[in-house]
Symmetry: C2
Subunit: 526 residues, 2 copies
Amino acid sequence: MNGKKDSFEIKISSATKAKLPLAGKRSGWIGFSCKAWIWNVWEFCNEDVNRVAFAFKVGVAVLLVSFLILFQAPYEVFGASIIWSILTVAIMFEYTVGATFNRGFNRALGSLLAGILAIAVGQLALCTGPVAEPIIIGISIFLIGTVTSFMKLWPSLVPYEYGFRVILFTFCLVIVSGYRMGNPIRTAMDRLYSIAIGGLVAVLVNVLIFPIWAGEQLHKELVDSFNAVADSLEECVKKYLEDEGLEHPEFSKTVMDEFADELAYRKCRSTLNSSAKLESLASAAKWEPPHGRFRHFFYPWSEYVKVGAVLRYCAYEVMALHGVLHSEIQAPYNLRITFKSEIQEAANQAAELVRVLGKDISNMKKSLKTSLLKRVHSSTERLQRAIDVHSIKFTKTLPKLPCAHSSTPSDFSNQLADLDENNSIEKTANPPSETLPLARTESYHETMRKQSRRLHSWPSREVDAFEEDGGLNTDILPRMSALESTAALSLATFTSLLIEFVVRLDHLVEAVDELSKMAKFKQQGF
Amino acid sequence: MNGKKDSFEIKISSATKAKLPLAGKRSGWIGFSCKAWIWNVWEFCNEDVNRVAFAFKVGVAVLLVSFLILFQAPYEVFGASIIWSILTVAIMFEYTVGATFNRGFNRALGSLLAGILAIAVGQLALCTGPVAEPIIIGISIFLIGTVTSFMKLWPSLVPYEYGFRVILFTFCLVIVSGYRMGNPIRTAMDRLYSIAIGGLVAVLVNVLIFPIWAGEQLHKELVDSFNAVADSLEECVKKYLEDEGLEHPEFSKTVMDEFADELAYRKCRSTLNSSAKLESLASAAKWEPPHGRFRHFFYPWSEYVKVGAVLRYCAYEVMALHGVLHSEIQAPYNLRITFKSEIQEAANQAAELVRVLGKDISNMKKSLKTSLLKRVHSSTERLQRAIDVHSIKFTKTLPKLPCAHSSTPSDFSNQLADLDENNSIEKTANPPSETLPLARTESYHETMRKQSRRLHSWPSREVDAFEEDGGLNTDILPRMSALESTAALSLATFTSLLIEFVVRLDHLVEAVDELSKMAKFKQQGF
């Protein structure tokens, strides 16, 4: 199982793949807890070098600002209020360039507004005489506190929450210290220029030293999401077809979202929750000047969010497929295996298409997906046809061959017979290379036993629950039959969801096309 | 449609129901844009009075702190450094009591640690003489900046991000001003007590004036989630059975997540994204003392998060149901209507159970759900049986009655005939009261026409995509037949997902039981 895990890990985090061998060399280190700790830190850094870069940049920025106080010459020029610039750097310095710009804008505008307001109110209070002055100041502080706090709760103003905080405390500081030192304009100006210096240092360090662009992160995040969805789809289908009922974890565990052996699924689930992340990265990216590969102005960052939404729409289907995989009601293994090649083919083609789309975005290239789409459609078509041919199997238990296909064309019934034959051959004489024939047969029976036990135990609470309804016959047999029938339909659910996933891919292709047009991706292969 | 919307709105936001009539009186106001704006603000306040309370509390808190400077007596005691307490209040004051405690703790511990570190480093630097002193200070600032910035990226330390920021700027402020004023201990102490005063004011105002408890919010949020899931399930099933193919919005709209007429669905979707909110509320609630209805110590707030996770697990099924509802491949309307009463019954019972669970949590009462669970199970059982009886319909187009049920027991075939008869009666002579018989018949044909058009147009891009695979016969007929068959299976998908939802309800009941045990809910009806 461990080996399996590793292979997934490498598959998913393809970005860190190149660095893993380097990390692997040091595996001899691990022994003491301290060394394990160092190893963890080392791996954490290796996973994303930007983390180290960010930490160093903050160190450099605060050091630069503190020079202004540590050296005699600038200190004499700026005076003690320069201390505010340290605060500004510490508070303003964000991970990405765009977020730093955004926060800097909030801080600058907030301080400016608060400064102007404070000077106006301060001058007004000064004119009213020494008795009324503190009263007016007190009332203004209360009003500003109330209004800014209320405004930052307003849904469309939530992104500027920090700006409102800045307005509040800058206003208080300026007006109060102005009142005590008698010069609100001086306090406001001092504060403004020290904020300006702090902000300038933060921005310069952030942009000039190893810049971490929000746009680049967004680009990478979206590509990773594509790969996560593709991996997760393949993993899910693989498990569904492989699964022989032996490793069903307890529901109490699965519901707590701990699918330890399904790394791709967890990645996919985090994709579902990534909308907020994509949006915040996109809104940060809009603040960034053209850079790196994103060279033209007004780069369509919001289009990334849209593609992410369509991808999420596809990922919902993967989640539903995963739900069927871990459902308590399962189609019997031999029914699942009937459609193995068709399901696998359709899923692989679909995953391939998703991966190609991700790769195209990653390389900022535009390629024709017609042939790929055709292949996906035709393999899905094949799956649908197979279901049509075998659909009678969903309605009755497997052993009996129903008479219904007397109404189907003869080639269909031939195919049905062929497929059945194939299955029985596979089960008895032609086992897959990774399992022994005996093991396969055993596990098949084991599955059926477990299957039946599971069906018997459903619903888990009241076995006598159905004795209430008097009209219908309530002996145990019809219930079980009904349940077995719906159990087989679980396979229909699985395939329907897979087909729906493919249908949604059309729209994903369209969305990526739109993005590649707007972002002026290069045409490939012409 | 408007009336429908309203009824949903009222159903969902049951907490604000009591206040709506009050707001309704003022509907005459709306006219000018300014008045509309005031109306919006008024509605925003009415929706949650806590918002206004919070804004006033911030105003009061900053006012109280500024008194320390505005009045002569305290200003003489504390001096100019009391200005830091204003900053502390502005930054520390959070929406809920727990979050304020948490942030205050971060700020206090951060300042304390930074103060101790700064004093230690400052004293050390002082001993090394005037040349080495600024160098040591500079290096220490760089190191603190780097280490704190790195640590706050570490996943398990992310919640303390604010604490690390506090450490960084407090350290810089204390050591730098200590260097310039020659007394780091004095600076550190001044800062600590002004933070303590600011923190104390923030906490007292937050707790004593109209406290907004994170625990109460969490409780409410969870109950709302239960109602959202129940409403959404009912809405989805209602639309599925009502929907006559007339109102399918364009996919490009649906994918952008704008289901304007499906309020409950949107609520449910926001439930899916609420895990972060629940977790942050739970982690804030842990900081709160016993209060209101939550009177015992160590109240199991984390159990709320767990119940939320199980509920989310159920909500995934609702999302999948919603996916089938808006799927491009749809089961014909008359097939859907065959199972109308069974589907509706099962969905309504399940929604009822979810709502009762929510109500029990809301009232902090423990009640036996056995009879409810029994009813849900038996109605689901009836649905399964109906599917079993009619399962043959999934495999072929509707008009032909297949011969397959010659192999089923005679009572089953009787039932099948019964149900078929019922349906035909319903369709021709016994229409539901809300629709005219003619309208029903017309819309049915309309649906079939649309259905067929939709099937023809799928896949939307390449109609000639399937001419590539040579082996199978590729004229238009078999493809359509295959597609029609899978279209019928879409109903099987819908019912399977509904059944799976019910299966997961068992675990939801268990999770709520566990919560009610740990939170010592009162037993009801005994």
